[in-house]
């Protein structure tokens, strides 16, 4: 590639990606007078302070909502690990037509449009009195993320050579013992990466969270709530956006070595 063409493209790329983020940072710190200019004349951190430390003019602090999100997503990702770990391991070792079929079936489930089950789930959870509970929303995330969990975990198990278990079997260990004593300790990396991605996918979910919660609102519906007001307080809203994105950055950095695998839900293995 020509050097000048490359520099030009890099410039375009940077403007396209960074421009909106620059707006996000600048506008969330712009003092009221200097609002809506590209270069604000006065910078203030008061909106961040309001959100982190509570109300000055009616703004709630972000912490309760952050807590709801973290609780729901943690429960969901632990549950996904619990169910997907043994299942993915077996799919990795059983090489029969039937197990392949079920495994591919999970791929179809992954593609299911979640909107299609929203109305029935709302009524089911209502009759179980699980609306506005951590359990209800976590259960939904468990069901929707389980296919991703299984696909990701199987990818990791496939990299563990079967010879390791075979030598344990020869010494008399059962399948379960070998799984517990040899495989799980080796799969630590895969487990944490899977947990992180399931957490991420649940953390950004808006649709079910806004229908299934009233008080225990997670961050996406909390954020969406700002703009459904007639005249949203923009600086405040953008500051909330920035703060709720911070956990995403940390998790992405943690899982960056397995990014391609994670963002395709295990469909590509790099």
């Amino acid at each position: 590639m020509n050097k000048y063409l490359r520099s030009f493209l890099i410039l375009l790329i940077v403007i396209w990606t960074v421009g909106p983020l620059y707006e996000l940072i600048v506008m969330s710190t712009a003092a009221s007078g200097s609002f809506s200019t590209l270069l604000p004349t006065k910078i203030t951190l008061r909106y961040y302070a309001d959100i982190l430390f509570g109300a000055r003019f009616g703004a709630q602090s972000i912490w309760p909502f952050m807590a709801h999100s973290i609780i729901v997503c943690t429960v969901a990702s632990l549950a996904v690990i619990l169910f997907s770990l043994p299942c993915a391991y077996s799919f990795s070792r059983l090489k029969s037509k039937a197990s392949q079929g079920v495994y591919l079936g999970y791929f179809v489930l992954r593609m299911l449009p979640s909107i299609a089950l929203l109305v029935p789930w709302y009524f089911i959870l209502r009759s179980l009195r699980l609306i506005d509970t951590y359990g209800g929303l976590s259960l939904i995330y468990l069901l929707f993320q389980l296919p991703v969990g299984i696909w990701l975990m199987k990818g990791f198990f496939d990299t563990i050579p079967v010879e390791l278990e075979e030598s344990a079997w020869i010494e008399g260990a059962s399948v379960l013992t070998a799984f517990r004593e040899i495989i799980i300790p080796l799969a630590g990396n895969g487990i944490s990466v899977t947990a992180v991605f399931v957490f991420l996918y649940s953390y950004i979910e808006l649709m079910y969270a806004s229908v299934l919660t009233r008080q225990k609102i997670t961050l996406p519906p909390y954020l969406a709530g700002f703009v459904s007001q007639y005249e949203p307080h923009w600086q405040l809203t953008l500051a909330v956006s920035v703060i709720s994105t911070v956990p995403m950055i940390l998790l992405f950095m943690f899982a960056q070595r397995h990014m391609t695998r994670g963002i395709t839900g295990g469909a590509l293995k790099y």
Binding site: W16, V18, L117, L142, L206, T237, L268
Partner: protein
């Protein structure tokens, strides 16, 4: 060698996941079918068995077809631009230059922002009076555009946001694909005189075919299910000019409280997408072993 007894243990280990999946499918689907046979509607205050009437209504509902059409449009446009922009980004990052790693990190940033937050950010930038886009346009003496407020522009504006937010996804996969290409083959093609666009078009793209097939299929299916951007930025409006299937169902259920009818649309959409997914999956498996 796996013995018969071990085989049984393996299947037992898959049972908890398979059982919870089955319950998680059969229960809501059967409940959905049940609701779709009623005219349950909290505004009209009706809740009686109506048989297949709702399905007849879906199939003759112009709003449903318009939402479906917009949904298809949405997928085609977003995936096309995701691919073109993402591939250009990957080509640039595949070169050697100072700051390459920094550029990669920068490109990924939009994907890290929560979709709801990204939607809010763009909604703000599109704002007619105070948004930065109109301000810049104004200072360049271009007319202000009512990005989200006019039926003609609303969906296009949302599309731009979606493209901005998800191009990094495509970029990461295509970059991994480019880096996986054997350097000798590229070098050989270069020596044979292939360069620039010809090298990309005749050598690189054909070799990356398995990867971009998976990438495009996955992105298309994910985009088909989209909800966040449309919902937060326009709510499907103005009127219903930017409604897609998900927002249309959401509105008829939780705004108009016509549960019976929206359950019927949901099931139609479900059948439609499962059929679509199966054909995509078959295509991927026939052509590619490693999935």
């Amino acid at each position: 060698m796996i013995l018969q007894r071990q085989r049984r243990t393996y299947w037992l280990l898959t049972l908890p996941a398979i059982l919870i999946t089955l319950v998680g499918l059969v229960w809501p689907i059967s409940r959905g079918v049940q609701i779709s046979f009623t005219n349950m509607d909290l505004l009209a205050d009706t809740n009686r068995y109506v048989g297949l009437a709702n399905y007849g209504k879906v199939l003759s509902d112009p709003d449903f077809y318009f939402s479906l059409l917009r949904n298809v449009e949405y997928v085609v446009v977003v995936v096309f631009f995701n691919f073109v922009i993402g591939f250009a980004m990957a080509l640039v990052c595949n070169e050697k230059f100072a700051g390459n790693r920094v550029l990669r990190a920068v490109i990924i940033l939009p994907m890290v922002v929560i979709p709801t937050a990204a939607a809010i950010l763009w909604r703000f930038m599109y704002n007619y009076d105070i948004g930065v886009i109109n301000n810049v346009a104004n200072s360049l003496h271009i007319l202000r555009v009512d990005w989200l407020g006019s039926p003609r522009m609303a969906l296009i504006s949302v599309l731009i946001t979606d493209i901005w937010a998800w191009t990094p996804w495509m970029f990461l996969i295509l970059l991994a694909g480019l880096e996986g290409l054997p350097a000798e083959t590229i070098e050989a093609a270069r020596i044979d005189g292939a360069s620039g666009l010809r090298l990309i078009w005749m050598v690189m793209l054909p070799m990356m075919r398995p990867i971009y097939r998976v990438a495009i299929s996955l992105k298309a299916i994910d985009t088909f299910r989209t909800f966040d951007y449309v919902w937060v930025m326009t709510g499907g409006g103005p009127g219903s000019s930017s409604d897609i299937l998900s927002t249309y169902i959401y509105k008829s259920a939780f705004k108009n409280l016509a549960y019976g009818y929206s359950a019927a649309i949901s099931l139609v959409v479900l059948v439609f997408t499962v059929a679509l997914s199966f054909s995509v999956l078959r295509g991927l498996i026939v052509k590619q072993e490693n999935l």
